[in-house]
């Protein structure tokens, strides 16, 4: 995966926090000090973390839109083209009778919209991931918060101090491989 390649060639540190507000304080201080490449790990999603990290909104919505449009076009094409290909009049109705076809169009809009939403999530979140990165600690899925900071070797001590001051309980180097 692209991200794990980045991770393996790079030095950083991971701090683990027991409290959410400690994590938020650490994010704020590090960002103020100019460390922009941060990654928070948390057992639950939280708006405060999102706001502190300040990343652009997820582009998954464009995948959903593309999927829905693709589904609608597929539905129209499938119903109209196949009816023209096998023009059998039933019930005296026109060969291309749009109102009943709209049911199929609707269902395929939802179906492809849903499938591309899932695809968009997997693509953007870089899932599935075969190797779980070295920054991960199982407790980040349980009851602790993690903060991974990208930094140069020379800034290592500074970052460790900042994390500790913000309330990190355990700080380990990460990203070595």
């Amino acid at each position: 995966m692209a991200e794990s390649k980045v991770a393996s060639s790079f030095n950083g540190v991971v701090g683990s926090f027991r409290y959410l507000d400690s994590l938020l304080a650490a994010i704020e201080q590090l960002r103020q000090a100019g460390y922009r490449e941060l990654q928070a790990l948390s057992p639950v999603p939280h708006h405060a973390i999102e706001e502190a990290i300040e990343k652009p909104p997820s582009p998954v919505r464009y995948f959903t839109l593309a999927g829905c449009l693709l589904g609608a076009v597929t539905g129209l094409t499938l119903t109209i083209a196949t009816s023209l290909y096998y023009p059998l009049i039933t019930g005296g109705k026109p060969i291309v009778s749009i109102p009943p076809f709209l049911v199929i169009v609707f269902e395929l809009t939802i179906l492809l919209g849903g499938l591309l939403t899932l695809g968009g999530m997997l693509f953007n979140a870089r899932l599935p991931k075969v190797n779980i990165g070295p920054a991960y600690n199982p407790r980040f899925s349980e009851d602790q918060f993690g903060l991974w900071v990208r930094c140069e070797q020379k800034d290592h001590e500074t970052v460790v101090t900042m994390l500790r001051n913000a309330g990190a309980e355990e700080i380990v180097p990460a990203g070595q491989g």
Binding site: R18, Y19, L20, D21, Q39, A40, L41, S42, P43, V44, P45, H46, A48, I49, E50, I53, K55, P57, S58, V60, R61, T64, T79, T82, S83, Y85, Y86, K93, S97, P100, F101, V103, I104, F106, E107, L108, I110, L111, G113, G114, L115, T117, L118, G120, M121, N124, A125, L127, P128, K129, V130, N131, I132, G133, A135, F140, S141, E142, D143, G167
Partner: protein
């Protein structure tokens, strides 16, 4: 629930997935015996043809289509709780939505079998799908039966996506707490989830879009199922009220099924801290709403049968109320629209035995409703010379019982191998651990 901590939630919910006692296996074996009997009945039907069932002219749709409509209906409440209530930010859904969503997926597994069981040659079921075949014959897109194939397949796929997407972060928790081959399976389902802010951001966006897509879908599915009937000119079926009537009935029966399953689940796995009386009471209140809509639909049907001044319509109505199927009809009226009104009494909707009893009665009533609509419509069409009743035989009944066993088999496997309550969503409802207690969120 607010006294719980994050790690306590992990422990409690994962505890329910530990090795179960002998009772679980006893229930599982009993379930498998019923399922095997149903499978034997289906084999018998395939070998000897549909003539071994009670299906005969004029009632060519009977118990199998009843079962199909019933199980698709059961599926609906899961999507109501997991998607619609999610969009409305209803907080109490967190601890019950996983079970409801599982009910949706398994009910659709069950419903999907019936159109195939009902085929004389089930091995050519794929003729229902549009694909370029040798004869150049394409399916008729003007037929509600083809709409139904699309609607139910889409519903099944989207529900499974929604179910498994919701499971991903929970699977990471389970992955970290198991070992050996089980860990490998859970790790696969977790897809390498770590809970980074990037993953959460895209996950939450995808989840809300899946919910937004599932919401109109669920309304469309039972509407399309109702059009299987309403698009025809059979008296009693040809009605514009059918779509909302079927959707409300579907949610009515689904809520009752969720209550029927949650009460024993909560008791056996001691999940009282998560599935509280308040959850069940809220479900009961929703049942009052759907019950009133269903009752209104019954009243409108009756009124229109009389007011339309249409002889076949009125004939069929009087047949429905007084003919061979009068008992199922009155069961349907009583159990679906009158008994649920008892939930207006707070003491009844907060009492577990009452809730369970009424939920089971609604399940029975809703099955009867589908049976009454389908069979009385066909048994008493326009021409008196073609009237005739339907009585199920052992094959039809065995396959119906087998379908319940099939549904419960999936449910039993679900409670054994997956977290029955969403770990992540329950944690989201708890106040996050803060160093400054009054620091606010």
């Amino acid at each position: 629930m607010s006294q719980l901590t994050y790690s306590q939630v992990d422990r409690d919910i994962i505890r329910a997935m530990e090795a179960p006692g002998w009772r679980y296996y006893a229930v599982l074996i009993a379930d498998l015996i019923v399922l095997a009997w149903g499978a034997y009945a289906w084999r018998y039907q395939v070998v000897h043809g549909l003539g071994v069932t009670g299906l005969t002219h004029p009632v060519m749709w009977a118990i199998y289509i009843t079962d199909f409509v019933f199980w698709v209906g059961i599926a609906h409440s899961g999507t109501l709780i997991s998607a619609i209530l999610y969009l409305f930010r209803v907080r109490w859904r967190a601890s019950i939505y996983r079970t409801a969503e599982a009910v949706t997926v398994f009910a659709l597994f069950t419903a999907g079998l019936f159109p195939i069981i009902h085929l004389g040659r089930p091995w050519v079921f794929y003729w229902l799908f549009p694909y370029p075949q040798f004869g150049g014959l394409w399916v008729n897109f003007r037929s509600p039966l083809v709409w139904d194939v699309f609607a139910v397949m889409t519903y099944m796929i989207i529900s499974m996506l929604f179910f498994f997407t919701g499971l991903v972060p929970d699977m990471a928790v389970v992955r970290n707490r198991t070992s050996g081959w089980r860990q490998k399976i859970y790790a696969f389902m977790a897809q390498g989830w770590q809970g980074t802010d990037r993953q959460w951001r895209h996950y939450k966006a995808a989840y809300v879009f899946l919910a937004a897509l599932a919401t109109p879908l669920v309304i469309s599915v039972h509407s399309v199922v109702s059009w299987d009937f309403a698009q025809s000119i059979v008296a009693g079926w040809h009605s514009t009220i059918f779509a909302p009537y079927f959707v409300a009935g579907a949610i009515h029966s689904g809520l009752a099924m969720v209550i029927t399953l949650l009460i024993p689940l909560r008791r056996i796995y001691r999940l009282d801290a998560y599935i509280t009386q308040q959850h069940l009471e809220n479900l009961a209140k929703l049942i009052i709403l759907t019950g009133l809509i269903v009752g209104y639909a019954y009243a409108v049907e009756t009124y229109i049968a009389w007011y339309s001044n249409n002889v076949p319509e009125w004939q069929r109505f009087t047949y429905q109320v007084t003919g061979e199927y009068a008992i199922p009809f009155w069961i349907m009226i009583l159990f679906n629209s009158l008994v649920p009104l008892l939930f207006f009494v707070k003491r009844i909707r907060t009492s577990t035995p009452w809730l369970l009893a009424i939920a089971i009665l609604i399940n029975i009533g809703m099955w009867m409703e589908r049976f009454v609509i389908i069979v009385t419509g066909l048994a008493h069409e326009y021409d008196p010379y073609s009237w005739g009743p339907y009585y199920p035989r052992w094959v039809d009944i065995s396959i119906t019982l087998g379908s319940f066993a099939w549904f419960f088999l999936w449910f039993l496997l679900f409670i054994r191998f997956l977290p029955v309550i969403s770990i992540v969503e329950v944690k989201e409802e708890l106040p996050p651990p803060m160093r400054r207690q009054n620091g606010g969120e």
